[in-house]
Amino acid sequence: MSKIKVVHYINQFFAGIGGEEKADYKPEVREGIVGPGMEFNKRFGDEAEIVATVICGDSYFNENLEEAQAEVIEMVKKYNPDIFVAGPAFNAGRYGVACGTIADAVQNELGIPVLTGMYEENPGADMFKKSVYIISTKNSAAGMRKAVKAMAPFAIKLAKGEEIGAPDEEGYFSRGIRKNYFAEKRGAARAVDMLVKKLTGQDFTTEFPMPDFDRVDPNPAVKDISKAKIALVTSGGIVPKGNPDHIESSSASKYGKYDIDGVMDLTEETYETAHGGYDPTYANNDSDRVLPVDVLRDMEKEGKIGELYKYFYTTTGNGTAVASSKAFAAEFAKELVADGVDAVILTST
């Protein structure tokens, strides 16, 4: 079997070109290994080899982001590698960000696996650990051998498409992707054990580190609501009776867009909820309780609002992944904007 082809990315410093004064060094590709590539090739043994090394100054990369990315990707593409390795960057901030950015871009545009390495406090780690495998390294180049020792076999695994172990086994920063497995003890026993450890000051590991929440600041108030076009959007699962698009009762894979032109009131005969996460009786009796079409029609008549937008968008929030919700809204928000909607009333349950 032929060797796995690796393209390696490093900065001007690790290429031996110079320090800060050379940080504006433009991308350059050299056949074979440069600098830390030597250590990688040693670790790769017979399985893989670095076929080319791309060198780019950290300032140049970060200050000419789009151009630099495009240039580097072109260089990488020419060698048709099986995997792209960047760094390791240790605690060098701009280098870390460059490694993360270019690895992410290569992965997305060339569709090949990528790997980088850096220190946990490197800003690049937080920025890219969700999208790119980043091996955790020491904070300075003194940790080079150790870093490469972890990165090289992991790169081979990635290139071969082998199953990747847990972050603590492989040494990468958790990307936050949750996978199920069966533990040795049942959850209750694990909870009691964890409490004893917490109470007696012993180390314990939470099974779910609290996520960083994506909090959204509300927009400023609508200046003149009496002229505003208002749309109704709900995660409460209100749908035309019969749920024509089969929106799931939980973990929705889609949203619905329904015409309410001329609809003055949602009735038991015409609308219902598809949502499986709350007592549906009251929403089924009168769906206005979740999607207040009746009240908005009154306000429209009274001139309190400009008009009610002719469609409403709906899904079930129940057990639906944040990523799905974001994707739905990103899509229909464009339509709302294009149709001149000024404000949205978003109802949940």
Partner: protein, 428 residues
Amino acid sequence: MRLELGNILIKDVQFGDVTKVENNTLFVNKEELINLICEDENIKSVEVELAKPGESTRITPVKDVIEPRVKVEGPGGIFPGVLSKVDTVGSGKTHVLKGAAVVTTGKVVGFQEGIVDMTGPGAEYTPFSKLNNVVLVCQPKDGLKQHEHEKALRMAGLKSAAYLGEAGKDVTPDEVKEYESLPLLKSVEKYPNLPKVAYVQMLQSQGLLHDTYVYGVDAKQTLSTLINPTEIMDGAIISGNCVSACDKNTTYHHLNNPIIHDLFEKHGKEVNFVGMIITNENVYLADKERSSNWAAKLSEYLGVDGVVISQEGFGNPDTDLIMNCVKIEKKGIKTVIVTDEYAGRDGASQSLADADSLANAVVTGGNANEVIELPPMDKIIGYTQPVNSIAGGFDGSLKEDGSIVVELQAITGATNELGFNKLTAKGY
């Protein structure tokens, strides 16, 4: 309060002329059981089926699972305030038909019921695949509204479990276990050097198929309160919910609450398990605030050093969970929370709807969005049509050959938040 649980190990279940337990086999007089269930005018008909471990059998839509128990000594009867008078239970002696259960199924009430497979990959995820199940397939009378329908099924299950439990009244148990909780001050006196801990159990209380009953009281109309752990073992808490069946506590889960058992396991050795608080999970913000205030206040009043908090459900109750956790931590009491996750089918989305850095000790029952394929089974008890619309299912879940592709969400008890299972998740 001291309770002796006498476990009669049930290794098989069969129909017979007389309902009895003999040589670890439960015999069921089908006709007598049917007559009992049909006393309820809201039930039009019922079929009774048996489902045993390893059989190629699928039960769905499952509403509740109940363990047959009978009070042998001491005040009160099983399921106080519901089937028995409201005497305080939890002391004396109770017999348990360990290894048997009553499972209720039949016409779907809502979107929310679950699946129990007795073999195959799905069986790994539900504890009820390991039991000898007496399954009631109940059809409600025509036109029965959802709330009454749910209640009729709930009562049928409880009545049947109590009826079967009676069969164990005069049987000598195979093993006897003792559980004792002392009055608070005495417990503190007895183990002065051990950390004092309590258990905070959150009860789902959001409405139809989301309700829980304590001594017959709908939990959404309760304030957080204290209860003896042994009361739970006599059926003081029963389930009226199975919405997203993976993480709802069936009555079986309540009777066998593993957190209570595992705290008792370390009681007097590593911890001093002094008591238990129950608190609801209502939909209104004011209720959430009030209930979590009370849970924190009671924890402080008990003077405990730490608590285990178990959630029931997900999404909306994540708010209650985090409120409880944060408010109790702020009293200087250490917490461990038990939850499950909805991280999307790819596991990449955030798992909870609320979070706080004080929640630094979390036990998870796994990602309920993970998808599983359940192969066809030879026998279906109930009917599979609802799997396309139950929580965890989707259009096309049910294949022509009878196999089912669903999220774990649809499997009864799969990601239980009392820590009943070994399933968990980690970050990759």
